[in-house]
Structure formats: C-alpha cells, structure tokens
Subunit: 448 residues, 2 copies
Amino acid sequence: MKVCKFGGSSVADAKQIKKILNIINNDATRKYIVVSAPGKRHNKDVKVTDLLIALVEAVTYKKDYQELISQILERFLQIERELNIRHSLIETFRTQLNDYIMRYQDQPERLTDALKSCGEDFNAQLIASYNNEQGIMTTYLSPGDIGLIVSDEPSNAIVLEESYEKIKNNLAHAEGKVIIPGFFGVNKNGDINTFSRGGSDITGAIIASSLSSDVYENFTDVSGIFSANPNIVDHPASIIQLTYEEMRELSYAGFSVFHDEALLPVYRSQIPVNIKNTNDPDHPGTLITNTRQSTGVVGVSCDTGFASINMKKYLMNREIGFTRRLLSILEDMNISYEHMPSGIDDISIILRAHQLEGKEAKLLEKIEHELKVDALSIEKNIAILMVVGLGMKTLVGTANKATEAFKARNINLKMINQGSSEISMMFGIEDKDADQAVIAAYEAYFTH
Amino acid sequence: MKVCKFGGSSVADAKQIKKILNIINNDATRKYIVVSAPGKRHNKDVKVTDLLIALVEAVTYKKDYQELISQILERFLQIERELNIRHSLIETFRTQLNDYIMRYQDQPERLTDALKSCGEDFNAQLIASYNNEQGIMTTYLSPGDIGLIVSDEPSNAIVLEESYEKIKNNLAHAEGKVIIPGFFGVNKNGDINTFSRGGSDITGAIIASSLSSDVYENFTDVSGIFSANPNIVDHPASIIQLTYEEMRELSYAGFSVFHDEALLPVYRSQIPVNIKNTNDPDHPGTLITNTRQSTGVVGVSCDTGFASINMKKYLMNREIGFTRRLLSILEDMNISYEHMPSGIDDISIILRAHQLEGKEAKLLEKIEHELKVDALSIEKNIAILMVVGLGMKTLVGTANKATEAFKARNINLKMINQGSSEISMMFGIEDKDADQAVIAAYEAYFTH
C-alpha cells in the first residue's frame, strides 16, 4: 500500500488533476492521497495559497475582500467547469470562507491558519467529489476526521505523538481511495493549525508513517532530485537513490525538493520515499531509503547568507568552559548557530546571517565583556557548499577533488569542515563565488 | 638590555658553562641570566633533575639515599674541578639537601618541590661564584630574593601578577651580571613551588617581561626552530622569524622547543624571543615576534594520541542547546576538549585520549542518557597535523597543496578544519600515518 502526495503544480488545474487521478486510479495500491492547494499553472500565475494570504491581510486591515474571495473561488470554479463536475462545491466553499472570517476576525493568528488551510481543503474535497463522479469510490477526510492532532502553534504546528495511533485506527480500514488535504492539522480543541510552508509533505509523511506504508510517493513536477541545482549546472545528473541522511544534508544547503521536517516521520519508520514526476509518472524518480549499496558523492548543494563570528584569545584552549559560556550567550539571546570550527586560540561561530538581525551589537558586547577575547569580528556574505555522499570519510582524495576544482577557478576557501560525518564535507566560501563553486564541485565529482 | 636563559644541555658541564659565560661576558647588554639544572652531557647521561626526583622517591619510601646525594654532588664537584673553582660550594649544597630532607620528610609535595629546585639553584650559585672568581661582577639571586611569587601549587605553580612589579623593583638597578635559577618560585610564605617541567623558560619569560627586556634570548642546543621535526624530515629548513601565535600553534601539536606557558608573559609585553644555539651563538636562530612582514607557511607539526567522540542525532541542528549541554557534561567530568567539528546532524569532540582515562564508560553513558543521540562512538589513535603560517586564509590553494600531498601518499583524512584562524589548518589522520603525513606536507609547502 502506498501513500501519495501531490504538490501544488500537480493539482493546479483540471488537466493536472486528471493526470493525478489517472496515476492513482491505475494502481490499486495507491490508496491514501494527500493533495496541496492549486499551484501555479504558468510562470506568472498566483498560487491559491498566496491569494488566501492576501485575503487574510485584507480582512485584518479591514479592506474590501470580496474581490479576493471571488478570485479564489474562480480558480476552483474553473477547475469544476473543465472537469464537468455535476455537483458544484463552490457555494460550500464560499460559506466556509465567510464563516472563518466571521468567526476569527478578532483572532488574527486563527484567521490566518483557517483561511490558509482552505486551498488544500477545498482542493481535496473537489478532487474526491470528481473521482466519485467518475465511479471510483473515494472519500474526502479532513485532518480532524483522521486524527491529525498538532500543537497549538499557528503557522508552525508540530504533530503530536498520539496522532500516529489515531490516524492508524481511523484510516487502516478505509475503503476505496481516501483524499486528505495536506498542510494542516487541528489542535486538541479542533482549531486549525498549519505546518510551516510546504507542509503538505509533512502531512503525507505522517500518514505514511502511521499506516506503515510500503512507500511514500511524493509527486512533484520534476523527475526526482538532481545532483546539483539545474539553474546553475547545465543538465545535472538525476539521483537514483540516496539515504535520508544524505537528503537532509543536501536540503540543509538549499535543496528544497523535499521538506526537511517531512523526512522525520518516514525516517523514524524507515519508509522509503519516492520523489516522482506527475508529468512523467513512469520515470523511476529518486528513491530515498535508509541505506544504499553503493558509495560516492550524490550531490552538491550551496546556500548563501551565512555569517561568521570570529574570535581570538591567547591560550583559549586552556580556558575550561570557554566554549560552553560562549554557547550560553547565544542561547540566552535565542540565536541558533550552525557550526563552530576552532583553532588553538580561536573559534568561529558560523550562523545564518538573519539570526543576527537586531542583535549584533549586543551579542558582540556580551562576548567582549563576558569572555574577554583579544579579537572579535563578524564576517558576512558567506556561502556554505556541501558535498554529500556516503563513504566520504574513507575516500582518499575526496577533499582534494574539491580543493583542486576551487583552486582552478580561483575560489577562495574561508572554511573547510569535515568532521565525524561520513556523508558530507562542508566548504565555506564567499557568497559571490557560490555559483562558480557549485559548477566546479559538480564537474569535479560528476564529470571526471 | 637582554634577559638570557640557558637550557640544561647548555649548562651540563664545565665546557658548556665556559661557553655560556663567554656568550654573556662578551655582550654588556646580556645582564640577567636564567639557568637550568645540568642536563645530559651525552645520550646515556642522567639529568641532575632526574637524580633529584630519584632522591625524592628514596626519601619518601625510606630507602637509603646517601648514594644518590653523593651522585648529585659528584656532578657539581666535577664541574667545580674542571672550572678550577677556588671556593667550593659542595658542602653548602650537601647541607642544603639534608636540610630540605629533614624539614619536609613528612610533607611529600613540599619535599618534591624543594629537592627538584636544587638542580637549578646549585647551578646558578656555582656559575655566579665562578664568574666572580674570573673577575666579572656577578650576583646570584634566588627567586625568593627577586620576588618571583607563585601560587601554592606544588609542581604546577603559576606566577602571581604582583611578581612583575616586585621583580622590576628588585632587579632594575642590579649591578654587573645577575644569575637566577629557573624552574621555581616561592609562595607567599616563602615555600618553594616549581613550575611544570621545562619551566626555566617560564622563569626567563617572567623576568624579561618584568624588566621590559629588549629581547628574551633563549639558548638551547639547536640553531632555532625547524619547520618540521628533524627526526622525521631530513634536514628541514630553519624558521628565521615567526609570530607568537604561529609558535603557539606549532607547539600545540608537538613542537616542544619553547615551553607553551613561557610564551604568555612575553606575548603580553610583546618582547621578542630569540631562540639561539649555545654551540653556535653567531647563528641568528629563530626570532619570535608579534608580527612579521612576509606571509606563508612556516611549519608543519603533528602530534598523536588524540581521540574523537562521534555522535549523530537526526535533526540535531534544530535542537537548541544541544552542544551547550554536551559541553556541560564534559565540564562536569573535568574533561577538556580540543575541537568540535560538526556536520548537520553530527558532531565530534576531538580530545587528547588521556583525557578519557577511567572516564570513558561514564561519559558515553551520560551522553547517551542526557542527549539521546542516535549513534555514539569513540575513535582512537588519531593524529593532528597542523600546517601553520600567516595568511593561510587568503591563500587560494593552501588546502589543496596538503590534500594533494596526502592523496599521493594514500593518507586518509579523517578530519579537516580550517576555521577562523588565519594562521593554521588542521588535519586529522590516523596515528600510523603521522610521519608520512609530516613528510608529505613538508614537501608540499617547502620543497615545491
């Protein structure tokens, strides 16, 4: 049995919806279907979720919002028309939107999450209804129906442990196809709380994990994951198989194919994830599993916008507790950091630069005052490039390949970090060199 | 004005003592002289300090120790004879040794430090006396006389801040040459406390700093510092000039030419250190200064016996306070660590393996229990190789040189760490590869 999730572009219009239903209906094992809100149909299109966010704003700032409601419903109406749906749901949707607005107009956070959930929710209802009309038994079930209980953290909900058992009990014996809207759950009182953006992946992963699905199929509009960003590298190779951990390292530095938090439930239950293409469903795509047979580099990713706080203190490494006190300062100021490379008498804190916003001066002053360092500076515009692949640690020359490639392109290395991880190597470079470095590393590992 | 320190081999016998007095007496600016205990005269010889440590043991375990006293005094007697000293000090020395034994026989720590100090103390008296007999006005002053006050930590004393002012006042207007024994100071009650072993360097540095010496000349038996260990690399180049910080990074990983703690007082007062050869005093040796004009690699050092505690936890980098809690565990157990390279979901603690002695099982259990990691392991037999030199960070290809050299010799890299330090790069390798790696790195940076 498979749990399938379809992203926004896979359910953006009638044509796409027919494609996904074809995919689902032709495979009896594809039973539990999680859908996103209608995404972009073309480059200049607006996602339904963005229309809903605009609606939240209009309501909150007491602007006229009827036009927005019409625009939102028009998207669904067009889908209904093109699908020749007999029983329109548009008026139900209109009532739902207006109900939420009335109920939550003085609770901006609740209003936001309730309205944002409508994109997925309406789409799931519509798709289920259409599939039923086609003679295939299909049930729409909301997160509340199936027991997807989340923490009461609007726009940043986290699934509660009890959900897994509830979902299992509620869904295991469902008949026919089951369509569930992604992106949100309900708190213990039944209030809607959405996951962080891109959260339909999370919904799918939770359901796949609850039901011990054989595989979690995640349909997007590309045939799996590329070894490097195709906007930077010309026709990069596709990754056939990689491990959860490799995926995590790649997504850390900019690979946004699969939502990071979505990996956790399937990682824990060791359910394989298959990233597939709605527009080319026979392509094997990319399989994410717990282990893989072969070793070697699977991908190169790079993310910009890091900063480095560098400090120096003579005999630092003799000072017991220095680093622990440094980390306490960061924790007190609610600043999370990424890495902490150190020399003998120096240490750097690598973090995402936005972590410093509005806190920089105070942080420096605290470090200066509490740790009495000899030198202290902040360096910005740092990019982190990750070379990811199992078996790195035992590959003589893995580092050499990258450093040689960087040297050939005159890319200056600010930081190199290969620690205990057997699956990645990290290079700190300047933001401006990011694209060149990705090309250099990709060529070094994939084309030679 | 210069402060000069002479190491054990420079004052091992009459011939060497004549050499050092020649060096001192021929330069009016060489005024304050710190001397060690007589060291080895040949490979199989025993240092006086080792004889004194044997004496401590004999007294402590109530063995017959008269033979040891004779052996110790015989060393000094032989020096006196060969120098044709008119007024022998041997009976004074004998009385001194017996006095200490009587006074401290029930205080093993005091006994240890008092007896250990005699090597330097007797040698300083003897050399001062001889120089006077040669018609050069020379004064012997003990650490107590000059105000070298230290913490009451036997065998591991630390200089107290007040000493600097005291020494300045007591010594600034001394006439003629002043000879001071190295290696020890007195606590506030006047009890002898020695520095950690090799501590004559510390004494010299404290005096140079107190007196704002123009230079601190540190005489050994080699012409300065080599760029790599001459026991591993065939005829390595000498270092002409390097900075305090470069020296510190080199000495961290095995360069034992200059005592680490000895650098602190001169670093703070920015007094240049000149490492020179008693047997070739015209050789410029190595100058250690605050800055230097040129940039580039100055040395390669490598030390073995490190261990790495590796842990993995899925979504570790989302867990605020993880590392701080890890460091608190180490601090609670009084384990000091060296480096902490990290990946996305993994972190390693690199430490000297002896830090784990008797604590390994408990440490692992605490980490497992308090941090709930997914995987935890300890790797031993790790060597750390440091490539040291100003301007590393801006040198494209610095890393590449080393990784290429390692690759050519099939040396597997376990860890690479180039952080904020602009003066070093650190490579983790296996103990067994240490010598090969030093040769590889030396050749890469110094012979190409």
